[in-house]
């Protein structure tokens, strides 16, 4: 009658049955970090040398994008700005769709470079990207002084009025939020409530950003749009009949800054209230032509 003592401690049958299913999956063993010599040895052994060189000699720009082809424009202005500038400076790279969680700094884009000489990949976050490009790209004929007063003043228009109108059109306007922004930014997590939650978080972030940069306590969409159109007018006057901004003989950083917004405003199918700013932009022919020049040369 008296059961052995170990029986009393045994788990009930159903629990034993349940636990017998675990682990569900056994992943392959992840090797500890290896030295460069080991890595070289391994790569020469397992694959052909040529293939290795090709795969590690690549720069990858992690950004909000739909494609790994670097001539497909990102749908985020900041990512597109750097993508364009890398293209302008003739640096070969491929793009990789990513999100904020992947970035060491929490913001996109960032560039992962792996060169043949050091064989260690290095991550360049977006604030340091400009400096890295100056050091690694072949010299540019664009010698516009990025510390000059006019440069910084006009840049503040792009980063102020135009950015605010972009945020309003894409994140606060409900039409574009649901048809463009949410599907594009949450493509990786399409499980039902997640895109909606992320969407409302992005919307709140946009509202906070606009409130912070606005001089009025109760800004309105109409006001933001008219300021953006005023900014485009100023940029159009600045460009006048030149090919590139500030009369440069080759495209530069400022061209990339402007293109990042003009291209997205013109190419995304922005609806709702955002049409106002798109129509406004179309009115400035030289800005539209400027967008076309960059698009045809680097994004086709």
């Amino acid at each position: 009658m008296a059961s052995p003592p170990q029986d009393a401690l045994r788990a009930p049958a159903f629990i034993r049955r349940l636990f017998s299913h675990f682990p569900l999956i056994t992943h392959p063993v992840d090797l500890p970090p290896m030295s460069i010599e080991d890595f070289q040895l391994l790569s020469t052994n397992t694959t052909t040398r040529q293939h290795t060189e090709k795969s590690i000699n690549n720069n990858t720009l992690y950004s909000f994008t739909d494609s790994t082809d670097s001539s497909i424009a990102s749908f985020n202005p900041t990512c597109l700005k750097w993508q364009t500038y890398l293209k302008i400076r003739n640096i070969p790279f491929k793009t990789q769709s990513s999100n904020n969680h992947a970035s060491p700094s929490g913001s996109l884009p960032f560039l992962v470079i792996s060169s043949q000489s050091d064989r260690i990949s290095q991550t360049i976050s977006s604030p340091k990207l400009g400096k890295w490009i100056e050091e690694h790209a072949v010299g540019s004929v664009n010698t516009v002084d990025t510390d000059g007063g006019d440069y910084r003043a006009f840049l503040s228009l792009v980063e102020g009025a135009i950015r605010d109108a972009w945020l309003y059109a894409l994140y606060i306007d409900p039409t574009n939020l649901s048809t463009l922004t949410i599907p594009k930014y949450t493509a990786q997590v399409s499980l039902w409530p997640v895109p909606q939650i992320l969407g409302s978080q992005m919307r709140q972030a946009a509202i906070d950003a606009i409130r912070k940069s606005s001089t009025s306590t109760s800004p309105t969409g109409t006001e933001l749009y008219s300021k953006a159109i005023e900014a485009f007018r100023a940029l159009s006057t600045l460009l006048s009949s030149d090919t590139w901004f500030f009369g440069a003989s080759e495209a530069g950083m400022f061209d990339a800054e402007v293109f990042a917004y003009t291209h997205l405003l013109l190419s995304l199918e922005i609806g709702g209230s955002g049409r106002v700013v798109v129509e406004g932009l179309i009115g400035f022919e030289n800005l539209v032509e400027h967008e076309e020049r960059i698009r045809q040369r680097w994004f086709s």
Binding site: G148, G149, D150, R152, A153, F154, S156, L157, E159, G160, A161, Y168, I172, D173, Q204, I207, I210, R211, K212, S213, T215, S216, T217, S218, P219, T220, G221, T222, E223, L224, K227, E230, A231, R233, A234, L235, T237, L238, S240, S273
Partner: protein
């Protein structure tokens, strides 16, 4: 015709207003339209403005809010007659727009840092200043809101704020002997402290240079920003902003010191413009009864804005009307919730008062081959009584509802 009223924040520091945009608007009106056509009103009431912030212009029944809107309104009203930018070339006009945005973006954080976020200045000068012109409960809300705005504008300068605070704080007297040792150590290391003071000063200098270098480059010794013989709107904006760095007499006067030391030509430029605009005989007027900042309209505004300040509904509508609908919608919802709660409450109260814990139960039973219906009123749970009262053929069987009864078949 009654003169145009310019509503601004109160005078302070020997300047006609404590807000850079208001000062800029005062400078603009002084240079654009004759002195007898406008009056300055220190209403301190931001709710008069269509965009919720001062300066605001009152022209008869019409209200215009914000410096940029005031400039374009007066230009179009006078058909270009008061347009002080009329002599500028197209490219200078474009620059004017760009520099407006540049000045706001770079200088506003510096002013916020100097007047509001540098603790010593805020506690000793700016905070008490608000109490001199605002009445009792309001003098706690408005400066708090302005301070919060300043803090958010300087959020990227956290380490600098900490350094200024460290520099300003005097070595504390030991509270008890237990702390004497600790303070003694800090006292000894006054050399590194001195060094820290210098690096903080350099970083503040860089912050100011970020804003002032392009302006200096542009001015290049000229009397006005775009050369020429008369000031333009950008001069008005600059004098409004730089005056607030230069004029206030502060206990931690880093902004003024750096300006006087490193940007003497900008000081000269600002002083001469300031003399023209801010010491001139500005005609002051008192606000109309309806535009005054009273406890009543302050309370009304606070209630209207409460959905936003509580973070319940935060939206930037497309039009100005959107703010009203937003606020109205919120209060309709609040009323609805209260109404519903009241209705449910009264129904429950009525129920509780009228029923005595008894229910009517309809029974169907077959008694000697015929169906018999009977309604019994009884307390919940005392089924025994119903069974007993129904003198049925089977003594102890309880009349229990069957599932199909519930469907009504």
């Amino acid at each position: 015709m009654s003169p145009i009223e310019l509503h601004v924040w109160n005078r302070a520091f020997g300047l006609p207003s404590l807000d850079p945009e208001c000062l800029a608007a005062i400078a603009f009106l002084s240079s654009a339209i004759p002195q007898d056509l406008w009056v300055l009103v220190e209403s301190n009431n931001a709710s008069v403005s269509p965009n919720g912030s001062l300066p605001a212009l009152k022209d008869g029944p019409q209200w215009i809010g914000g410096f940029d809107a005031i400039v374009s309104y007066l230009n179009s009203k006078s058909a270009g007659g008061s347009d002080i930018d009329r002599d500028l070339t197209a490219s200078q006009k474009a620059q004017s727009i760009a520099y407006r945005s540049f000045i706001r973006k770079t200088c506003l954080p510096i002013i916020s840092l100097s007047l509001y976020v540098t603790n010593k200045n805020w506690i000793n000068v700016t905070r008490p200043l608000y109490s001199t012109f605002l009445q009792f409960p309001i003098q706690y809300e408005i400066p708090h809101a302005h301070h919060a705005q300043a803090v958010s504008l300087t959020a990227h300068l956290t380490s600098l704020i900490r350094d200024i605070a460290a520099e300003d704080s005097r070595p504390l007297q030991p509270i008890s002997t237990a702390f004497a040792g600790i303070t003694a150590i800090t006292d000894k290391s006054d050399k590194p402290q001195e060094k820290e003071k210098i690096t903080t000063r350099i970083r503040l200098g860089n912050l100011l240079a970020d804003f002032l270098d392009p302006i200096k480059e542009k001015l290049a010794g000229q009397e006005y920003f775009f050369g020429g013989a008369s000031p333009t709107t950008i001069d008005c904006l600059l004098v409004g902003y730089i005056s607030l760095l230069l004029v206030p007499n502060l206990p931690s006067p880093w902004a003024e010191e750096i300006l006087r030391k490193e940007f003497s030509d900008i000081v000269g430029y600002t002083d001469s413009l300031k003399l023209t605009y801010f010491t001139q005989n500005i005609t002051y007027s008192t606000p109309d009864e309806t535009d005054k900042l009273t406890l009543t309209n302050w309370t009304k505004r606070t209630i209207e804005n409460s959905p936003r300040s509580w973070g319940i509904s935060d939206n930037i509508p497309l039009n100005k009307e959107g703010y009203n609908t937003q606020s109205t919608a919120f209060w309709v919802v609040v009323q609805g919730v209260f109404g519903l709660a009241a209705t449910v409450g009264s129904v429950l109260a009525y129920k509780a008062l009228t029923t005595e814990g008894k229910v009517d139960v309809e029974l169907k039973e077959e008694v000697a081959g015929t169906e018999v219906y009977s309604t019994i009123r009884g307390g919940v749970g005392d089924v025994d009584t119903t069974g007993a009262s129904n003198n049925g053929t089977e003594g102890g069987r309880l009349p229990i509802f069957r599932a199909e009864d519930m469907l009504g078949l």
